[in-house]
């Protein structure tokens, strides 16, 4: 807690600075060390004493990865993430809007179920959903993954968007509808343009899930053409064994895009994270 009415002593500030540095080091060191390893030529990786800044940096491990066809996996992950976000936002908008604006029988039950479903742990669902997906013949396909990810992420999407729509005054839509818009037009042309932050927050949740998910993807898909990046990295662990160069390089391929997205949009991410949970 900040205490604005009390000046902090220089000693306190120094202690704060020291604690903050330790926290930053704790959080980022494994990532920085991985990045550093991924840029070292193989002969330098195990050299003691270790250096953080490899000189000169080498891209040989990234080249190895491209030769083993990592591009395919990145593309698969990107496709799945994109369509999952699109589908979740579409369905989430409709459901969230209905919950925010209409009263209907069973609304409280629907809200309760949405919150309840959010707290079901994912790993306990994997085996049953695999059985179900196999029944539908959708295992080993990107379509199956998109549908599953959407199903997993829809509750949080609906919840975030429901919360956001509630903050938008109804007068705007009512005015638009008096002027002749239908409900859907009002949603599309009045509400959605005002919902940027809510949509971004929801999209961020979905995209980090879809891009990062390993547990679901490894269970549902086994063939190479539909392998997503995290599953590919898991397979690299077996394939490269103790060659940490390509392994850390693959790790970087996975985390750099998500960190960039996070840094750009972190404001929305934080609002969605706390809004979606503390209200619940």
């Amino acid at each position: 807690m900040m205490h604005p009415w009390r000046r902090r002593s220089a000693l306190r500030r120094a202690a704060d600075g020291a604690i903050m540095s330790i926290v930053v080091l704790f959080a980022l060191f494994p990532i920085v060390w991985g990045l550093s390893t991924s840029l070292k030529p193989t002969s330098d990786i195990l050299r003691l004493p270790p250096v953080i800044l490899p000189s000169p940096p080498s891209l040989e491990h990234y080249r190895t990865l491209i030769e083993t066809g990592i591009g395919r996996y990145v593309l698969n992950s990107a496709i799945v993430s994109f369509f999952t976000v699109a589908l979740s936002l579409m369905l989430g908008t409709l459901a969230g809007y209905a919950l925010a604006r209409f009263t209907f029988r069973g609304k409280a039950a629907v809200m309760f179920v949405i919150v309840a479903v959010m707290s079901i742990p994912l790993p306990s669902l994997v085996v049953p959903t695999f059985t179900f997906l196999a029944l539908l013949g959708l295992t080993n396909s990107l379509v199956g993954l998109v549908l599953l990810y959407t199903a997993y992420q829809l509750p949080i999407t609906v919840w975030i968007l429901y919360g956001y729509f509630q903050t938008i005054p109804t007068q705007l839509e009512n005015a638009a509808m008096i002027d002749g818009y239908t409900r859907m037009q009002a949603l599309r042309k009045v509400v959605l343009p005002l919902s940027g932050p809510g949509l971004v927050a929801a999209a961020l949740f979905v995209v980090t899930f879809a891009w990062n998910d390993f547990v679901v993807a490894v269970a549902m898909n086994s063939s190479d053409e539909v392998r997503t990046l995290p599953v590919a990295i898991y397979n690299y662990l077996g394939f490269f064994g103790r060659e940490w160069g390509p392994l850390t390089a693959a790790a970087m391929v996975s985390i750099v895009p998500i960190i960039v997205v996070f840094v750009v949009f972190q404001r929305y991410f934080l609002s969605g994270m706390t809004g979606g949970s503390v209200k619940g």
């Binding site: 959080a27 270790p50 994997v126 940490w244 392994l247």
Partner: protein, 192 residues
């Protein structure tokens, strides 16, 4: 604000990748932990090959990834406490510890409850940490329920058994949530 983003970085990257990076840190083939332990005469310790060490590494992994997440949730709760309460208590001569116990803790009941539920459910079920970092070993010392389920279903292809275990794990989660509810929600039914 920057610090908030930094502590969340381990949380937003793929769990699998985070565990991979930590595995490299703990690894015996030139992992940096050997170096750091060297001055204490422990340079030959293979952390992940020792039962206790592997469990420690697993816990470290969980802490590393989820501390930031817990921090953000709790911070949102802290921000909801009116600042005047602290000022008034201080005027009345309440010590820092007393203010914490009598203002912060009671008002943080719901945020703490929510954070606990989310963390507990996550940790009870997670399988990626142990799958990547320790592989459940050595000697099954770090085998978790999630990992057992995964192996049953997708390594041994005993789908029926895995389904049964999944249901049991799910029920176990419900019991945990129920216990937490009982602890945090008083008889009037309002958690406050």
């Amino acid at each position: 604000m920057l610090l908030r983003a930094v502590v969340l970085v381990p949380y937003i990257i793929a769990m699998l990748v985070g565990s991979l990076l930590l595995k490299w840190i703990f690894s015996t083939d030139g992992g940096i932990s050997q170096m750091l332990l060297g001055p204490f005469g422990l340079q030959d310790t293979a952390i992940l090959a020792d039962q206790r060490g592997a469990m420690g590494a697993l816990i470290f992994n969980a802490l590393w990834r989820d501390c930031g997440f817990a921090m953000i949730l709790l911070m949102a709760g802290l921000k909801g406490i009116p600042f005047e309460l602290y000022a008034a208590a201080e005027v009345d001569g309440a010590s820092a510890w007393y203010r914490f116990r009598r203002i912060t803790l009671p008002l943080m009941r719901i945020p703490i409850f929510i954070t606990l539920v989310r963390l507990l459910i996550h940790f009870v079920n997670v399988l990626t940490f142990s799958l990547v970092l320790t592989g459940g070993g050595p000697n099954n010392a770090t085998l978790t329920m999630g990992l057992t389920m995964y192996r049953m279903g997708f390594v041994d292809y005993r789908i029926g058994q895995a389904n049964a275990l999944a249901l049991m794990v799910f029920l176990f989660n419900l019991v945990l949530i129920f216990i937490l509810l009982r602890l945090f929600v008083d008889r009037r039914g309002i958690a406050a």
